[in-house]
Symmetry: C2
Subunit: 273 residues, 2 copies
């Protein structure tokens, strides 16, 4: 773990990340020592800093630290956090300002292979995503809604909870973005007023399948041909059961899983030229 | 500064306060070594823990630590933070769970006496308070909206920014609750979908003046007879200017300031019996 370049496992109590959740983060898969989708992750980090009116961190330095940590592991998860640093008068940021940069490496979560092969069970959460256009899209450190949604169930046979916004549109999972297919067209919710604009979601939207961004209800989702969730760590998981109804792991889900496996191989090969 | 009873100034990077803003806090005035409105602050902390589905911390222990810190200072600010502790699988809380408890003492902010005597200048912020019923009322650590609202101005002649909700109702200040008076009736916004249910706001509502909780627009506020903001540290400040319009520091504001001064004296005297 590196905190501002030093090997340590703590941050100051007065860090604004701890005091206010005043920062952004990225969760990056390291595959065969290669940080996957790195450019996209770093671009979102920069975008998040802009949206929060934070100065841009030294991206060259962050890239070098990521490279240094990746050399030491094969497959792992890299978490990168950038906060507005210490101090300030209450909520007002200090002048001058010194960002805090935390890079930490963690084991890949040990999900059963079956989640990938035959899909997961999902449920609907009661906790709603609040309406917050100013914070929508970015991965900021204010994550209480997701924490509360996850606290709704303890049944280990359910792997993901789906969250609705205040207008009862289905937006995303607690840790994933959500797509469904109907008659060979993919649908996903717009990330405008709430939610995270995921790296995997963005990659899927660049593939050669028609994707429509539009709001949809839980009822529309129930009538889907196939449903899947995605994020940068799990990749793509089909949903085989949602709210008591069963779904096939359909051909669009499988094609995207296949394409993603190829993309990951390509990125590793490219990094090792 | 005490972190879980130990004198230290850091917390673990993996603390959920830092990772997710997963916790609650209180900011308490210490006046002549007495923590003011302590019972109300601790009650709100407990309420916040319940709302976030966190276990209740050991309140006896917290009271003892507060008493220990208060002995060492005369007038100061005590910040008390309770987070869901370290670990967990992603957003899901760990089992078993060990809360993190941070108590820190800070100098009272050195505001000019004129803010109290002759009032402050306020402005309207562009940043809106998002709609989030599940998190409304409590003082949780997800404070990015307030950070962003404060970043809107740097003009030091403006002391507070007023925040509207997404329906354009005026709710509160970035660090204060807001009241206005019209024809000898006080008005303040309901804290239902957003905002903080302040300790000072609650105390004011127990005083012998009629207070109506209802939504109001910026235009209604402009036509107020008097306006004031309040929190547990500043007490009550009249607003002498808002968006280019001037207001008197009226008799209701002054009566409440006077009553509050008496209440503080009473609490100090009571603590020293």
């Amino acid at each position: 773990m590196l905190v501002n370049g030093e090997k340590q496992r703590t941050v100051a109590v007065m860090d604004r990340g701890f005091q206010y959740g005043d920062g952004v983060f990225e969760t990056i898969e390291i595959h065969h020592s290669t940080p996957l989708f790195l450019a996209a992750h770093l671009a979102r980090l920069v975008q998040g800093c802009q949206q929060l009116a934070m100065p841009q961190p030294d991206m060259g330095l962050i890239r070098r630290e990521i490279a240094q940590l990746c050399l030491q592991v094969d497959n792992a998860v890299l978490k990168l956090i950038v906060t507005r640093g210490e101090g300030g008068r209450g909520y007002r940021q200090p002048e001058p300002l010194a960002l805090t940069r935390v890079l930490s490496v963690h084991p890949l979560p040990s999900y059963p292979q079956a989640y990938y092969d035959t899909g997961i069970v999902a449920r609907f959460c009661q906790t709603r995503l609040g309406l917050n256009p100013a914070l929508a899209g970015i991965k900021h450190l204010n994550r209480l809604e997701q924490v509360m949604a996850c606290a709704e169930w303890s049944d280990e046979t359910v792997q993901e909870g789906l969250m609705l916004n205040l207008s009862q549109h289905v937006i995303e999972g607690t840790m994933t973005n959500l797509f469904y297919a109907k008659q060979n067209v993919l649908y996903t919710a717009p990330i405008v007023d709430c939610g995270v604009a995921g790296i995997m979601r963005a990659w899927i939207m660049t593939q050669s399948f028609p994707v429509v961004e539009q709001y949809f209800s839980a009822q529309t989702l129930r009538e889907a041909d196939e449903i899947f969730v995605c994020n940068a760590i799990i990749g793509i998981w089909g949903v085989r059961e949602l709210a008591g109804r069963c779904y096939p792991i359909g051909h669009l889900t499988q094609k995207l899983q296949h394409a993603l496996a190829g993309e990951k191989q390509k990125q590793v090969a490219y990094a090792n030229i």
